[in-house]
Every structure is written in structure tokens, then in C-alpha cells.
Amino acid sequence: MNTHAVRVIYKFEMMRAWETLLQSFVSPVLSTSLYFVVFGAAIGGRIEQVQGVSYGAFIVPGLVMLALLTQSISNASFGIFFPRFTGTIYEILSAPISSFEILLGYVGAAATKSLIIGVIILVTAGFFVPLEIMHPVWMAGFLVLTCVSFSLFGFIIGLWADNFEKLQLIPLLVITPLVFLGGSFYSIHMLPPAWQTVTLFNPVVYLISGFRWSFFEVSDVSVGLSLLMVLVFLTACLLVVWWMFKTGYRLKQ
């Protein structure tokens, strides 16, 4: 195992975040606070409670998930896309380092960054509403699993994209709608029955539901199913990445 290599890649990626501190950490916190003010204060005033939880608190897990997903994807996709774009990837490809070590460095760093962001947002949210976490271990588990699997997903996008447009495409056209329609700001039980069924095809629903359960013990689907879906997604991403490395997809001619 080339631990030196993993370390320098990880460090390089983390440094990138520190150097662009504002963009990396401050902006997700700011935008989450805005969501909080708009949804929590403006709308929450009218809804009061969802499934026995105050609306302000109810949306916290969804907001965290929203940030985790977008941050994991953008960090990881950018991290591997940029060296491909500038050509500096030649060095990674010519180094005595395995695909797994490359993943560990890039995905590890991206996941760490979004984990930090997730925690910061949780803490920020704690200033707005009283937060109680009923199952901290599950909560941490969902947090870490989400960071890792969506960083992997971002890594895949970063390999697949051959221009900046494509890099933005999936997060913008797929992830954001899925998150917004995935029950970040409402319980899917609030939807008409037909839409409830449609929503069950949205994988993000399981993620948010499970994560919310770890806070309030209220969920749209059972927590076991949520965990299963996250693991399925993680496995799928791992398989795709494995295939990409094996075939040298977009990395090696």
C-alpha cells in the first residue's frame, strides 16, 4: 500500500478546500441558513407541526442531506475532473499507485469535506431550533454513508464528464430535483396518494427518511429499508468505479 501517495492526494484535496474556505465551507452554511430562514420561519409559521415535530426542526435533516449530496458530488467530481482537464492527471497515472489508493485519496477527501460541512450545518441549525438526536449512532452512520457514497458518485461524474457543462449537468438536472422532491421540506404523506407512490422511486426519499428517523423517530419508510437503499447505492457506485478503473474509462486511452 502506497500510503504516502494516499496521504499527499488527500492533503492536496483538503488544502484546496482551505484555500477556498469561503466557497467550501461558508457558502453551504450561508445557503442553508437562508433556506432555514425562508422555509423554517416563513412557511413553518403556518405549518407548525409535521408528524409531531415542529416544522423548523423537521426540515433540518433534509437540509443537511441537501448540502451533503450537492457538496459530496461537487467536491469529488471537481477533484478528479480538474486534473483531467488540465492534464496533470498524467502524474497520477504514471505513479506507482493502485486504483483503490486513488479512490481513497480523492473520495476520502471529498467525503471528509462534506462531512465537515454537514456537521457545521447541524450545529448552525441548532442555533435556530432546539435539536434532539434520538439515535446518534444511526445519525452518524447515515451521515458518513451518504458522504462516502455520494462522493463516489461525484467521482464517477468527474470521470464521465468531458466538459464543464456535463460536470454541472447531473447535479443540476438530477440531484437537485430529486432532493427537493425527496421530502426535504415535507413528509411524503402530505402528498396525494398517487404522488406518494411515484415518490417511492426517488432514492433520495429513503435517504432523507432514514436520516430524519435518527433524529425524531418519524419516517416515511422504514429505517431498515433506508439503510438498505443507501448500501445498494454505495455498492452500485463501487461497481461502476471498479469498472471504470478496470477499463481505463476516460482515464487511459
Binding site: E19, A95, K252
Partner: protein, 308 residues
Amino acid sequence: MQPIVSVRDLSKTYGNGHHALKEVSLDIARGEILALLGPNGAGKTTLISVICGIVNASSGSVSVAGHDNVRDYRATRGMIGLVPQELTLGAFDTVWNTVKFSRGLFGKQPDPAYLERLLRDLSLWDRKGSMLMTLSGGMKRRVLIAKALSHEPNVLFLDEPTAGVDVELRRDMWALVRRLRESGVTIILTTHYIEEAEAIADRVGVISDGRLLLVENKLELMHKLGSKQITVELETALAGVPGALADWSLQLSEDGTRLSYSYDPHTADARIQELLCAISAAGLVMKDLKTTQSSLEEIFVRLVKEPS
């Protein structure tokens, strides 16, 4: 002695169907400087990229110090340093950090003292804190060299190290290459400049259209190149070289009107006078006379033009 790099029947077809390498075989001796010459698009970069593991071969194999570069990639890549043709460097990193990064990437313990020596050697030490994007092209080239040497490789590939480089830096590079060779590093460089190959290489390989046309010791090549030719144009066409001139190993042109004789001008016994007398004596009438000297350039162009 076992070659340090051994390339066997290497072929590469790119995704778009382009045959960039065609059955290339090449042995590179430990400690030598090999210059690969070839026109644009000949396949030099492709060859280097396959050896370094950046491009997959379509068929054939590469071994470095006896290790296969696919099966045993950790061993082979760890021994190799690569300076790419393009100035591919990150923008927002400092010189020091990027060199440290390279060393780590190749699995080596941090060694600030070594890196300092390296940067000093390349006159980069006072720029160690500079952002890469603020460096000039020549400086960037040096940084790329520093990165390639950061893990103390045994084999160094320099892909057109002196393209777009001023005369002074070019001399510096040549000096560096020689110093590295003295410390035991094997060096393979590609170039478009024949003078460059002449100046620093031990052997010269010529690539064209994906084929390795020749690999030869530079001195031998120079010797061949040093030869001159005298061509005699005759009044009347001949069917063959007359028996009286059989000892001279002359060459007759296809139309039978020109006789040529190759000789080494450096040796005293060029015997031109003698040859001309012999031709007269054989009853041939000379219409015109010319001498030519082939240069590396000519040989190069000739090799590259006619598909062998």
C-alpha cells in the same frame, strides 16, 4: 547486461482507429542517453506514455528492470520519472508543494534536504514559494523536471525537454542530463532537433509513422553521416559498371548515366584522383562531376520519407 527498459512488439491503436505504434521493439541499456527523433505525430509521446503506464498498449509488452509494466506496475513506475511534453502543471500550487506532492505520490518518504538540493540544482530554489501560474514557460519546464526527479528515479523520460526553450536553458538542460547520467540515471529524450541528439545522446532512434526505423550508436551513425559521395555524370549511358572499375564498388544509377563512389573524407586515402584516372582509362567520357556530403538531417529525411 540486462537492458533497463525492454519494449517488445509494442503496438498501439487509439480509440479512433489511429495506428500510433506499429510493432516497436527497443532495448534501452542501463545508464545510456537515448534520443528519439521523429517528425510530429510519429508516435514518440505514445511510446513513452505506454512505457510509463499512461496509455494502454494494444499488444506487445514493456518491462523495466525485468518487471512487466502492467503486472508489476508498482515496481516499474517507481523507477521511472517522466517530464511530459506539455507544460501541464496545476495553477494554484507552489513550487515547493508540487515537488513534495510528486515525491509522496511515488511512495517516497519526505526528504526536504534532497528536494532542496534538487531545486537548487535547477535554479528554482528562490522561486520555491511562487505560485506555479506566475512562472515563465522555461521555469515551468524546470518544475516539471524537478517533479520527475523528486522520487529519485533510475530512468528519466524527457519528452521534448528543449521545445520552446532559450539557448541558455537548453545548455543547462544538456548539462543536467549529462550530470544525471553520471549519477547512473538512464535517460530517454525525444527531440526534433538533430543537433540535440548529436550533442548529448549515446544512441539515436528514429521513429516515423509509428515505426522505429533505426536505433544506432551515435558515433557509428555520425561515421556513416560523415561519408561523402562523388557522382560522375557520363556522356553515354552504361549497361553495367565496366569490369576495369570492378574493384571500386561503384554504384550505377538506374538510367546508367551516373556513377557514384562513397568515401570517407577524413582518411588520407580518398583516392579521388586515382578514381578519375581509372574512369578515363576505362574509356568513359565525363560530362559533369559533383560531390555531396550527407548530414544526419538528410539521412533522417530519407528514412522518414521512404516507408521501410
